[in-house]
Amino acid sequence: MAHYEIPNSGLKRDDEGKKMGMWLFLFTEVLLFGGLFLVYAMYRFQYFDEFKIVAEHMDITLGAINTVILIASSLTVAMSITAMKKGLDNVAVLLIIITIFLALSFMVNKYFEWSNHIHHGLFPGFEAFNNLEKGEGMFLFLYYFMTGLHGLHVVVGAVLLAIVIKRIMLGRITSENIVFQENAGLYWHLVDLIWIYLFPLFYLLH
């Protein structure tokens, strides 16, 4: 008897399925941050004045630069996918390298920002932090928590992009088989998108 081929086999390559999986995963990420946004909203309401006072001391310039960096990186990722689809492997790799470079500069910026705060003793455990009003400490802590978690996502995204480069080199991502790169790109857009919300919440709303 001939071997029966399962037409709807789960072991066949299914790009649509993989993309759907990624979208679903992004929902969960949005909800993960959604919980934090909810908590932020609650305490902003409760400690309106304190939030305002600390927010005025945030460095808008650094925040704005980081926003521009991330938006630019979203653009380069999108372009790399188009390049890959057109078979321009080298251009794609170059664009991803630029993206990773932008991710790194984002993190370096963040490092300077955080270390500046910590230098002034504005971190849990330091004298200056403990002397703050409750709401002010809450703002700063939410700032560390939310941008920290976001930073973690930046790092994960950058690692994913590095894997994309490796796979392009190995010929495992080609113009015909690009779903891994597309998914990494989707993830990167999410990282960007979350920052677009974090930026006004912590820097612009006074």
Binding site: K18, T28, L32, Y43, K134
Partner: protein, 546 residues
């Protein structure tokens, strides 16, 4: 565990590869399901032992076998094990993984590697939870709900346990995600949405809850960890936080998750009953859609856990009202099940009896739930043994009973052997009686005012507590007897045929145990939906040819 009954052409999945690594790194959905089964059984036995010990402590007022602080730790660990390690993964991860691809007519889930990853996350999370017992400042004593501010202030090992729950949550999310993609992408060519078996529908509804509710609790637990680590008052009122906010965030997840526990169980009942009655399910669409309705409504009722924690009167009335609404789709299911059995040619099997026991228990669980949903009553019975009995009636008498029933239904398919039916009737009877004695007594004594989470009680509660404790002995004996029967039969039972219950869904159209790729020829799909028993003869004829 032999392939005697499988075709010579394709070996059973048991024999395809050998060695421990062919199991713990397998991509086969059936083997992953069994990995979960073994782990979950082990954890269930641990949790059961803890429950047994708590009941023993409560056999008389005052201290009997453990101190108050030990009792606190024991109910916490009992709750955490039973919720995060047993009941949430139970049916989806074991029977969902094993049966969903087969019922859809395919050979694996859509993302097999992610499936294996979920199992590893589960094992890592479980190990972390167990580690809190031996490592660090002593195991947690907060109760499984981790309410702030106590969870922030206690010096027991809450941090690691919370992190374990976080990891387990992601395991659950990824399993759900996998099922959604599988159901969308891998149904057999002619299987439209409304021709899917109802178990698949229930897994679909469940998966959306897992996906959309779990991240919230994940982040909440992370916030408690951060609060403990950095001493910031996110939830601790002494530091400016809001403990009620914690409760909101916790129940926004933890109410929907009770439907993660019960919906798959309801799905399995919708499989077992048509097979037992040899006729199509009554109200297929109503059952399928009511699963989705329960999943949807379940998002808007979390406040009923907080009637006494400080909410506005309006909010409480709304939450109470929506809670009542959940009863409608639930009752739709129960009526449809009963109607399925009505005038059917019912075949008495152990799995049918487990299912009817479920309906009985779950009716008590559901009706006591309505009583708890009534504002004025809840204020009195909140945090009493009444609540404990209520959720054991739903989770244990409900989901776990169905888990056992599913074990008796699909056992011959999975292991290729039949268990001892006489012994299974005896063990079911003991479990059923023991269960109802244990928890009916707790229900009554709770109604009389005995609070939960106490190792001690007033003398007037003694008789009922003693009845309950004796009941728990019968219960444990019944369960151990059942497990003995199943474990023994997996090796020594009679060889089972491909279709011992005369079912018509796709898992009964393949050899027992299934070959690695499940299907050796195209399955028979009726135009009239998954429970069309007019194809039974054809199914059985084809099975003989294998």
């Amino acid at each position: 565990m032999t392939d005697t009954n499988t075709t010579a052409m394709e070996q059973s999945f048991w024999n395809e590869k050998k060695g421990i690594f062919s199991w713990i790194f397998t991509l086969d959905h059936k083997r992953i399901a069994l990995l979960y089964l073994y782990a979950i059984t082990a954890f269930f036995l641990v949790g059961m032992t803890l429950g047994f010990l708590m009941r023993l402590e409560l056999i008389a007022p005052g201290q009997t076998i453990m101190e108050a602080t030990t009792y606190n730790k024991v109910f916490t660990f009992h709750g955490v094990i039973m919720i995060f390690l047993v009941i949430i993964p139970s049916i989806p991860a074991v029977f969902g993984n094993f049966m969903l691809p087969i019922m859809l007519g395919t050979d694996d889930v859509a993302l097999p590697r992610l499936n294996l990853f979920s199992w590893w996350l589960y094992i890592i999370g479980a190990s972390m939870a167990l580690l809190t017992l031996v490592y660090g400042p002593g195991s947690a004593d907060t109760g499984w709900t981790f309410y702030a501010p106590y969870s922030v202030n206690t010096d027991t090992n809450v941090t690691l346990l919370l992190f374990a729950a976080f990891v387990l949550g992601f395991s659950s999310i990824l399993t759900g995600l996998n099922f959604i993609v599988t159901i969308h992408r891998l149904r057999a060519p002619k299987m439209t949405w409304f021709k899917m078996p109802l178990f698949a529908w229930s897994l679909y509804a469940t998966a959306w809850i897992q996906l959309l509710a779990t991240p919230i609790v994940g982040i909440t637990l992370l916030m408690v960890i951060a609060e403990r680590t950095f001493g910031i008052g996110l939830f601790d009122p002494a530091l400016g936080g809001d403990p009620v906010l914690y409760q909101h965030l916790f129940w926004i997840y933890s109410h929907p998750v009770v439907y993660v526990m019960i919906l798959p169980a309801m799905g399995i009942i919708s499989e077992i009953l048509p097979t037992a009655a040899q006729r199509t399910i009554f109200g297929y669409k109503a059952i399928a859609i009511s699963s989705m309705a329960i999943a949807f409504l379940g998002y808007f009722v979390w406040g009923h856990h907080m009637f006494t924690s400080g909410m506005s009167g309006e909010a409480r009335v709304v939450f109470s009202f929506v809670t009542y609404l959940v009863a409608i789709p639930t009752a739709i299911k129960v009526f449809n099940w009963v109607a399925t059995l009505y005038k059917g040619s019912i075949h008495m099997t152990p799995n049918l009896l487990w299912s009817t026991s479920f309906i009985f228990n779950f009716m008590i669980g559901g009706l006591t739930g309505l009583i708890l949903g009534a504002l004025s009553v809840d204020v009195h019975v909140h945090d009493t043994a009444y609540v404990v009995a209520h959720f054991h009636y739903t989770m244990f008498g409900g989901t776990i009973f169905v888990f056992f029933g599913a074990m008796h239904y699909w056992f011959p398919k999975i292991f290729g052997r039949m268990y001892n039916k006489r012994l299974s009737y005896i063990s079911l009877t003991l479990t059923f009686i023991g269960f109802n004695v244990t928890y009916m007594a707790m229900l009554i004594v709770g109604g009389q005012g005995m609070p939960r989470r106490y190792y001690d009680y007033l003398p007037e509660f003694t008789t009922l507590n003693q009845i309950s404790t004796v009941g728990s002995w019968v219960l444990v004996i019944g369960i151990l007897m059942m497990i003995y029967n199943l474990v023994r039969s997996a090796k020594k039972g009679e060889i089972a045929t491909a279709n011992p219950w005369n079912g018509v869904t796709l898992e009964w159209q393949i050899p027992s145990p299934p070959p690695l790729h499940n299907f050796v020829k195209a399955p028979i799909l009726s135009d009239k939906g998954p429970y069309d028993f007019s194809i039974l003869d054809q199914v059985n004829r084809e099975n003989l040819e294998n």
